[in-house]
């Protein structure tokens, strides 16, 4: 290696400040990342750094001056430079790539303009991250649709529009509501996983809704119009004469919204005796003559 004083261009009597200034002046000119295409600059920068390492350390400088050590071996092994990652395709898709220096060349119509446009389009387009959330909604909101406000961990909030008929585990994607991109890319999306809380008496199967509806003995025997809950409010349901427990009545179109219409609500009847013992009913049944001829268990008894 050459004489470090010569490399830095300072006199033997140079003060530490002179050395520092000389090093800075050369480093600014020769730093490989400021001269990405200049191999010579890189080699010279290595010499300059080595010279500076030697002369900026009073101990080493004194030893060198007295001839105890020479300038060899003082080179500092250097990690790779940034340019090694940014050029020659290695920087493609990097968040640092910047097309501001040539984007205007893409305005024309020729093949090169097309090339510039394509390159410009690739740069700084790293999207922000998608953020994942969970939202538990009520059964009726899932069936009818709703807008729910989701409170975010950072204190912000997000209005989530729930489409009618959403299913358990479905994920809603809210465009651009995720993390902002660093650089100039699009923000990410918010992904909201929906869970549906069960309902007290509605149960969903596909697009149909099932409900078990208690009716009185007289409603079952004589038939009646009874008020029946549906997700959109109560309706009057006609229970035919002689309806038994387990009979299923269909309310058309009262189920969950689906493409081109709605599912149905299926009402399963359950005949309920009076909750208190009823003397009148007991008296009546004891005189009911046909009761003894009816055996609902006849299929079970061998």
């Amino acid at each position: 290696m050459r004489d470090p004083y010569e490399v830095l261009g300072v006199a033997r009597a140079a003060t530490p400040d002179d050395v520092r200034k000389a090093y800075r002046r050369l480093a600014k000119k020769l730093h490989p990342d400021l001269n990405p295409g200049d191999k010579q600059a890189e080699a010279r920068f290595k010499d300059v750094t080595a010279a500076n390492d030697l002369l900026s350390d009073p101990d080493k400088r004194q030893k060198f001056d007295s001839g105890e050590i020479d300038a060899s071996g003082a080179e500092r092994p250097r990690q790779q430079y940034y340019k090694d990652f940014a050029s020659g395709g290695a920087g493609a898709g990097s968040p640092y790539e910047n097309s501001s220096g040539f984007a205007d060349f893409g305005d024309g119509e020729d093949l090169f303009a097309e090339l510039f446009r394509r390159q410009a389009g690739q740069t700084r387009r790293t999207r922000g991250a998608d953020l994942h959330y969970r939202l538990a909604i009520s059964f009726l909101d899932a069936v009818n649709g709703a807008t729910q406000r989701l409170t975010l961990p950072d204190g912000g909030s997000l209005d989530v529009t729930i489409p009618a008929g959403i299913q358990e585990g479905q994920t809603l994607r809210l465009r651009d509501k995720g993390a902002p991109a660093r650089g100039e890319g699009e923000p990410g999306d918010a992904l909201v996983a929906i869970s549906i809380n069960p309902h007290r008496f509605f149960v969903r199967e596909g697009d149909d809704i099932h409900i078990e509806l208690p009716i009185t003995l007289s409603e079952a025997v004589l038939g009646a119009r009874v008020k029946t809950p549906t997700p959109t409010g109560a309706v009057m349901l006609t229970v035919p004469k002689g309806s038994n427990t387990g009979a299923i009545l269909r309310l058309k179109g009262k189920g969950v919204a689906r493409r081109g219409g709605h599912g149905d609500e299926l009402v399963k009847l359950r005949v309920m005796l009076p909750s208190e013992p009823n003397a009148e009913l007991e008296a009546f049944l004891s005189t009911w003559s046909t009761a003894s001829s009816d055996d609902p268990r006849k299929d079970m008894v061998s």
Partner: protein
């Protein structure tokens, strides 16, 4: 190679607070993956460049942003020029 924040701090020899400022200034743009940021070797080399600029070349904080922006433009230009040259040679 991908580094975690702790790894990156040790290798780049910066403290956490400084790193946050660099990220805030968009001098460094690690990918914001969960649960932790991920740094690439390019991020590491860039951190080394920032340190060179500030420690060795006497560039102040305002200057670093300007330098990095221009360095990024130079690389953008170098890459597009390389692309243009390749395409021109293929056409010949």
């Amino acid at each position: 190679m991908i580094f975690t924040t702790v790894d990156f701090l040790a290798r780049a020899r910066v403290d956490r607070e400084t790193l946050e400022i660099w990220i805030e200034e968009e001098w460094l743009v690690p990918s914001e993956t969960t649960p932790e940021r991920a740094f690439t070797e390019a991020d590491l080399a860039r951190a080394q460049l920032i340190r060179d600029l500030m420690d060795d070349l006497g560039v102040n904080a305002e200057g670093v942003g300007v330098v990095l922006n221009l360095v990024d433009q130079v690389h953008g230009l170098r890459n597009v020029l390389a692309e243009v040259l390749t395409s021109a040679r293929e056409r010949r």
